[in-house]
Amino acid sequence: MPVNLKLQSFEPLIIAFCCNWCSYAGGDLAGTSRMTYPANVRVIRVPCSSRVSSNFILRAFQRGADGVVVAGCHPGDCHYTSGNYFARRRFLLLQRFLEFLGMEPERFQVHWISASEGNRFAAVMTETTDKIRALGPNRKLRDTR
């Protein structure tokens, strides 16, 4: 099979860690509003963006995710007051570090999506899928066995 054909048929796997109070609810709203976004996105529900450990993100890449999104409440709106402020520091550093190791920065994204932003949820997921589809499959931190 020619290489470009293979690329065309590539569908990325995107794992989204969503905080229960804002972003997961935003995803619910995208659903109740019948918006559409690619089925490539699969959501794992966590209480807060500050519950997302770098271990989970690395593990997702290892197990075949082509992109990972962490979504939380907008800074200042955290259900737990300050969780996303800590998350913001943790993930900014992680993102820059992964890029330092040669990972495309698009593959690990952080977004703030409120419970009322169903449209934003759908838009973020669509854009992310498009971007990562264009990047092609991730092999960089992936378990090649």
Binding site: D28, G31, R34, M35, R42, C48, R59, T81
Partner: protein, 659 residues
């Protein structure tokens, strides 16, 4: 090997139209540990729930996965279903195949594939779910109200009327607070004392309220339902029981100091009641200015007291009491005007703050209610009121609006005219804000009926000019700079938080904003609760407020406290953090990131090489933990784990979702 049952909901056509239910059921049946998979049109219906219950019993299911709508929708429903069949509810997992799948995807094949992945993920997590039990925390059925102004009074009365014991702690010798200093209240112009005093008396006589005046809260430990407070009852030097409030002591007292209650406009004695309607109507000896204490001379009041109530040897009393709920109603201060030299405040006796003006028009005030200029005791003819002195001022004052000044300035303009029909009020304003019931009408009355001249603009300088004050300002509406020869200038100084609010916040474990006002748990939906469970806020300690707002917030805070106190036990959210002590290194990073102060340090003893050794570890207070999980990520060895969202569970989800 687990025995997991998977129940797939069609949600009518909502799921079934885009997800191949049969295909998904078949795939689910083959997932690891799944021994039963079925589907139904409406899983949340009576029949659907019975299906689950029967299967739990018949198939001896030990975990249940329901693939249906969002867990935010029906998680509780299915928790109850499982519990009814004898299964711990926390063994149930929901796969969201509606909002996150069938409703957002069009292609049936794709949606079906994703639904299977989501169910596989839920199954993987469920396999690692553990039984969790909400713990019962007993509630101490007593409330502590800090602050005896109108907010604290209202909260205390409401809680007491609901049948709970309340301790009301007030720092000054009498309750009443700011409202007791006021003359009339807007927009009805009823007399402040007339509506406040009956409430003060009610507090004093209420069988459920214990009043601690001249007292301060020194320490608060514990958590929701179980606070333990240390209260210092400062030595009053007057026996509360013996004193009859006859007043002979302060008549005879030779020491005079400026009266705090009268905003230092007059002098009071060293033994004093702050104002005639004080509750309790028992004086205190201000030891800082009493000759007995400063020079070890005098003793006149003791000799004079017919009841023998004066006791110079009285000592501070420290109480330890337990409370289930705390209402904080500590009120506000007004901005120090040292930085606003252009108004000549402090340099000319006829330049006053609004609070001082309030005392001057008050019939129990220093002039007996006859508004007279402090400089020469003459009635003022032209009075200039300047609003936003320090409010909405980012550079020298506070950036926020103090909210009450527009209204009380209108009130002052009216009161001025009522006292002296020939007098003229001038009000410099930036904007007029009269959002409140009957507020705009009140303000218009001041303008139209009482002839107050409102000038949109600021005052640049107030020049003392003979026995007058020359006010230089602008009327930006006409574009004219204006000059007014005034007899009196009244400054609407900004409201600010109590200067020791940050200390109280630390003591209580609640947060303050950048201006030291206490922060509510949610600005819209939880406006009377502090971030710390069991602590509620009332009045201007949370932000500038008028009396009606303070009273409503106080009643709101009281209602929240009553809800809490009316429970014998509190059920805690079982999805809280726990510490694996054997893994805990004791670095205590978790304490730093916890927004609730729910993690603490503790020392444990361990046997190492046959020796008992002490070591510090972290400990989670389950009553305080809200389950955000920030601590789990700060913990490098993974010693802190969040029940319901453990590292193992989320890892299993990641592994399964990526398959």
């Amino acid at each position: 090997m687990r025995r997991i049952g998977v129940f797939i909901c069609w949600c009518g056509t909502n799921i079934a139209n885009t997800v191949n239910i049969e295909g998904v059921t078949e795939a689910a049946g083959k997932m690891p540990s799944v021994i039963y998979a079925d589907n139904y049109k409406y899983m949340c219906s009576e029949i659907g729930q019975s299906m689950i219950k029967e299967a739990i019993i018949k198939e001896k299911l030990d975990r249940v996965v329901v693939a249906a709508c969002s867990p935010r929708m029906h998680e509780l429903t299915f928790f109850k279903t499982a519990a009814a069949a004898g299964l711990n509810p926390y063994l149930v997992e929901i796969a969201n195949i509606r909002e996150h799948c069938s409703w957002v995807h069009k292609d049936k094949q794709e949606a079906t594939g994703k639904a299977i992945a989501l169910i596989r993920t839920a199954v993987a997590k469920a396999a690692r779910n553990k039984e969790l039990w909400a713990t019962q925390i007993p509630v101490e059925c007593r409330a502590l109200v800090i602050g005896g102004g109108i907010g604290g009074i209202q909260a205390a009365l409401d809680i007491a009327d609901a049948g709970f014991e309340v301790d009301l702690v007030e720092r000054t010798p009498s309750i009443g607070g700011r409202m007791a200093q006021l003359d009339k209240t807007f927009p009805t112009l009823d007399c402040s004392a007339c509506i406040l005093t009956p409430k003060m008396v009610e507090v004093a006589s209420h069988h459920n309220i214990t009043l601690y005046t001249f007292s301060e809260v020194e320490k608060v430990d514990g958590f929701v339902g179980n606070f333990e407070a240390t209260i210092r009852k400062k030595a009053r030097s007057i026996d509360l029981e013996k004193c009859t409030g006859c007043g002979i002591c302060w008549e005879k007292c030779p020491s005079r100091v400026k009266s705090e209650f009268d905003e230092a406009l007059v002098m009071r004695k060293a033994v004093y009641v702050p104002f005639p309607q004080a509750v309790p109507n028992v004086p205190v000896i201000d030891r800082a200015s009493c000759r007995r204490f400063t020079r070890e001379k005098c003793g006149i009041c003791r000799k004079a007291c017919p009841a023998g109530a004066v006791n110079y040897d009285q000592e501070d009393e420290v109480l330890q009491k337990k409370y289930g709920a705390i209402v904080v109603a500590t009120g506000f201060d007004i901005l120090d005007l040292d930085d606003f030299g252009e108004f000549s405040y402090g340099k000319h006796p006829d330049v006053l703050t609004s609070l001082e003006f309030e005392r001057l028009v008050n019939s129990s005030g220093p002039t007996g209610g006859r508004l007279l200029r402090p400089s020469d005791q003459s009635p003022p003819k032209n009075v200039v009121f300047i609003q936003c002195v320090g409010s909405r001022d980012k550079s020298r004052g506070k950036p926020y609006c103090s909210k009450i000044c527009c209204m009380y300035s209108a009130k002052h303009a009216i009161l001025l005219r009522e006292k002296y029909p020939e007098a003229q009020a001038y009000v410099f304003y930036i904007d007029i804000r009269t959002a409140g019931k009957d507020f705009e009408e009140f303000h218009r009355r001041a303008v139209e009926e009482y002839g107050a001249l409102y000038l949109k603009g600021s005052v640049g300088k107030v020049f003392p000019d003979g026995d007058k004050l020359l006010v230089k300002g602008v009327d930006s509406l006409s574009g004219h700079a204006v000059e007014i020869e005034a007899d009196m200038v009244v400054l609407a100084a900004a409201i600010k938080a109590k200067s020791d609010a940050p200390q109280l916040a630390r003591l209580l474990g609640i947060s303050t904003d950048t201006h030291s006002f206490f922060t509510e748990a949610h600005p819209k939906l939880r406006p009377v609760e502090a971030h710390t469970a069991g602590i509620f806020l009332a009045g201007a300690c949370q932000g500038p407020k008028d009396i009606p707002e303070t009273v409503s917030q106080a009643s709101g805070a009281a209602a929240k406290a009553i809800i809490l106190l009316s429970k014998d036990n509190l059920l805690s959210n079982p999805c809280v953090s726990e510490v694996n002590e054997s893994l805990c290194t004791g670095c205590l990073s978790c304490i730093k990131v916890c927004p609730y102060g729910a993690v603490a340090e503790k020392t444990i003893e361990e046997k190492i090489h046959g020796k008992a050794l002490k070591r510090r570890v972290a400990e989670v207070n389950e009553a305080l933990c809200q389950g955000c999980g920030s601590c789990t990520v700060s913990c490098r060895p993974g010693a802190v784990n969040l029940k319901g969202f453990t590292n193992e569970q989320i890892m299993a989800e990641v592994d399964a979702i990526c398959l």
